[in-house]
């Protein structure tokens, strides 16, 4: 069976220890976490949303979802993979910005519609968001300039609103 990438949106009680239960479940059962992002939801401070990217064949994914659901603090588990959804990641990149490179970097920033959020004599820090593909393309273009450091969130995602059927 194929090991496919899945993006899970998990609604949990906003309580200490919940993240550790989820992380423990993945490590204890030998599942893989590719990326993870967590924050309290804006609509209800008692809840947090975890967006987790993992891989597994069909049978493993079924177990992962059921095991997650079995955790007492987990309220819903939504596998967005086969649904319509919007996904974003955010990356901050500090890149070498010698005078001879600056114009080129700014051009790339412009093409990707992202922005420079910090400037120094030798560097730019660029903020950019998008899906994974866009992010990788962007990083690849900057690599030759010399990337100093990066910080990147995991994916966050929400399903698209279903169109009402007439």
């Amino acid at each position: 069976m194929k090991n496919n990438k899945h993006i899970l949106s998990i609604l949990v009680d906003n309580q200490p220890g919940v993240l550790s239960r989820i992380a423990g479940l993945f490590s204890g059962r030998g599942y893989n976490i590719e990326s993870l992002s967590v924050a309290q939801t804006a609509e209800n401070s008692k809840l947090s949303r975890i967006t987790l990217v993992t891989t597994g064949d069909e049978q493993i994914m079924e177990q992962i979802k059921k095991q997650l659901h079995k955790l007492i603090n987990v309220i819903t588990v939504n596998d967005l993979t086969d649904k319509k959804y919007v996904e974003r990641e955010l990356i901050l990149i500090k890149v070498n910005a010698r005078t001879d490179l600056r114009a080129e970097i700014l051009r790339i920033v412009d093409i990707f519609r992202c922005r420079v959020v910090d400037v120094g004599p030798d560097h730019y820090t660029i903020e950019m968001s998008g899906d994974e593909g866009k992010m990788e393309a962007f990083v690849d273009l900057l690599r030759p300039m010399g990337i100093i450091e990066t910080s990147r969130t995991g994916s966050i995602a929400l399903p698209r609103e279903q169109k009402k059927q007439k």
């Binding site: 949990v12 009680d13 220890g17 550790s20 239960r21 423990g24 479940l25 204890g28 049978q59 079924e62 177990q63 059921k66 095991q67 659901h69 079995k70 007492i72 603090n73 987990v74 309220i75």
Partner: protein, 662 residues
């Protein structure tokens, strides 16, 4: 109303109907013990090691069919509970463990006797809590009991900082517990049940597999009813033993690594498996791709994660076993009634032939029923609330003639049962007791004869093909005078021989550490079971190695006046490991020799218990009799054949049809 934190704890425990808790004090729980001291209604049993407290609470819960409670101090008290918790977790036993914790202000400071027990037990509890807010204390305790006992049960741990136990707190009854994130599915999907009825009617070679979930949901009667009504043979996991009477003709014996030949063959050849409350552990399935590979599988479980985990189910049903089996039985009964009514209204000439065969079938069924009727009395005695076979098979008038419609094609079913009888004849589960050295199986077999209800004639006669039973052992006794017997075991060969040769007729009477296989379980478990059921005889079947893991609990048994009988099968080996070394490691007995053991008779005496020992075949029965009759806690040590192996055996990872037979 203001109450001390510790008072709230005790109040909430008592509300659960728990009359006994098991524990060990320490600095962090001293306030709780102070309150307990003033609460004589709640009995506290002082164990000698915290592991024993949890095993005892586990067995208390299982013997009583309710929840068990353990109470220990912080740090080392808490870490000592981990094995007990893990065992209860693997066997889904409702246990609530309360651990003391350092005062909230000190948490995280590496304070004296501080451990992060919530972190440590996260992966072996159903859920756990650290109470930091005194106002949430009552609710948390109630939630803990609610989670432990509902859905798929399991252990829940509550960590209680010392300052919270000492604080005066405004007590507010937490009311009903309702958690949005926790809604176990008790009621099965009706559409799936229709499929089950169809599958049962079409099956040519069906088998029922019963497991611990049937014990937990108290569905043994419903399961038995299903089997008898449909004439489907029954096998069981280790945890399911007793949910179907071990003395019944439809009983196949245990399944799996040390299952009977006929059970393993029947599962390998069946075309329909009805699995209730099982999780398809590797010790049961062996190689999963060869497990029931010719079969459709109906799997009933309250925990969705048990389904499609190891074995693919054709017809998965998420639901409580009792509810589900009740509904299936009702649907099957309805089928029978409809068919028999249709039969009565049908045209005489054409139908008469068929009718004839139906009647014949019903006649056969009646004789089967009669046969089982003998069982009926056993079962009734056993307290299985009047599930006589007659009642089981023939609900309404007119059901007899319809019953065959749910028993598949009569010829095919007979052929299937014949095939099973042939497997049984080809390789019965048996041992041969010679004149010289005691066979461990003989001890278990004799123990069974001495403690099973006697009125069941087939046990002393008909079962002799199963064992090399000496007839008449059990005769002369009267079941009316005999208490019911709960058997606990240690782990290893002793455990497997007990599972094989002690035929359990009712649930909650066989208590063993199944999923974890924790040596040291048997003795504290026996004490817990005795606390739950003081009127019953409690016997722990032990190995010479395992008994040494918690033998300190002898003192608990004596001090608490909870007399238990311990049967040690002393092979002077860590026998089960030695067996693997013999079979798969060229007899290199690395570190499994246990010739150095204490004198168990003197050990018993040192604690103030009685001790008997024999190495003579002709004394097995008399020593057992004497030991069982002697009041108080007794050790009976049997010096048995050193290199006896448990057979049949499926080598780990092999197909269950490929057994080593002797």
């Amino acid at each position: 109303m203001k109450l001390k934190g510790a008072e709230i704890l005790i109040k909430m425990i008592r509300e659960q109907g728990v009359d006994t808790i098991f524990g060990y004090p320490g600095g962090a729980v001293i306030d709780i013990y102070d309150t307990l001291h003033k609460t004589p209604e709640l009995r506290h049993i002082l164990v000698r090691h915290e592991q024993g407290a949890v095993h005892a609470a586990d067995a208390y819960a299982r013997a009583k069919g309710s929840v068990g409670v353990a109470l220990v101090t912080s740090g080392p008290g808490a870490t000592n509970t981990v094995t007990g918790i893990a065992s209860a977790y693997m066997d889904s036993v409702p246990v609530v463990v309360f651990t003391g914790q350092v005062p909230t202000a000190l948490i995280g400071n590496d304070a004296f006797q501080e451990v992060d027990i919530v972190g440590i037990t996260r992966s072996c509890t159903k859920h756990n809590y650290l109470v930091k807010d005194p106002l949430k204390l009552a609710r948390t305790i109630k939630e803990a009991f609610f989670l432990a006992t509902t859905g798929r049960p399991g252990p829940v741990l509550v960590d209680l900082p010392k300052d919270i136990m000492a604080a005066m707190i405004e007590f507010e009854d937490p009311g009903e517990i309702d958690l949005i994130s926790y809604r176990p599915t008790y009621h099965p999907n009706k559409k799936q049940l229709g499929k089950v009825v169809r599958l049962i009617k079409q099956a040519r070679r069906p088998v029922i597999l019963t497991g611990g979930g049937v014990v937990l949901s108290k569905a043994s009667q419903e399961l038995t009813r299903l089997a008898l009504m449909t004439r489907i043979p029954v096998t069981s996991t280790l945890m399911g033993l007793g949910t179907f009477p071990g003395s019944h003709p439809l009983w196949l014996g245990m399944l799996g690594m040390h299952g009977t030949y006929r059970a393993n063959m029947a599962v390998s050849e069946c075309d329909l498996m009805i699995a209730a409350g099982v999780r398809f552990d590797d010790r049961v399935t062996g190689r999963t791709d060869k497990f029931a590979s010719k079969s459709k599988i109906i799997q009933i479980d309250i925990d969705p994660t048990s389904i499609h985990k190891n074995v693919e189910a054709t017809c998965p049903i998420v639901g409580d076993c009792k509810n589900t089996l009740t509904l299936i039985n009702q649907m099957l009964e309805k089928e029978c009634l409809e068919i028999s009514r249709a039969g009565m209204e049908g045209s005489v000439t054409e139908e008469s032939g068929m009718e004839g065969s139906v009647t014949e079938k019903a006649g056969m069924e009646r004789s089967a029923t009669e046969e089982a009727g003998m069982e009926g009395s056993t079962t009734e005695e056993a307290g299985m609330e009047g599930s006589t076979t007659e009642e089981v098979c023939m609900e309404g008038p007119g059901m007899e003639s319809g019953i065959s419609c749910i028993q598949g094609n009569p010829g095919e079913r007979d052929a299937w049962l014949d095939q099973i009888a042939r497997w049984k004849a080809a390789s019965p589960q048996r041992f041969e007791q010679g004149p010289d050295v005691i066979k461990p199986q003989f001890v278990v077999d004799t123990l069974h004869k001495l403690t099973c209800p006697v009125s069941d004639k087939r046990l002393s006669n008909g079962a002799s093909d199963e064992t090399s039973s000496k007839e008449g052992l059990a005769q002369g006794g009267d079941s009316a005078g005999r208490p019911q017997t709960i058997i606990t075991t240690e782990v290893g060969q002793n455990q497997m021989w007990t599972a094989q040769y002690y035929l359990f007729d009712k649930p909650n009477h066989f208590i063993t550490s199944g999923g974890l296989g924790a040596m040291g379980f048997g003795l504290p478990a026996a004490i817990g079971a005795k606390a739950a059921c003081p009127e019953k005889l409690v016997v722990c079947v032990a190995g010479d190695g395992s008994i040494q893991m918690n033998s300190q609990e002898l003192m608990t048994s004596i001090e608490a006046k909870l007399p238990v009988k311990i049967v040690i099968l002393n092979n002077r080996y860590l026998g089960m490991v030695r067996q693997w070394q013999e079979l798969f490691y060229d007899r290199r007995y690395a570190s499994t020799n246990m010739e150095m053991s204490p004198d168990f008779v003197k050990l018993a005496q040192a604690y103030g218990a009685e001790g008997f020992r024999t190495d003579r075949v002709d004394e097995v029965e008399s020593v057992l009799k004497k030991g069982l009759e002697t009041p108080g806690t007794v050790i009976m040590e049997f010096i048995v054949e050193r290199e006896e192996c448990v057979y049949p055996m499926v080598p780990a990872g092999g197909a269950i049809s490929e057994m080593l037979l002797v």
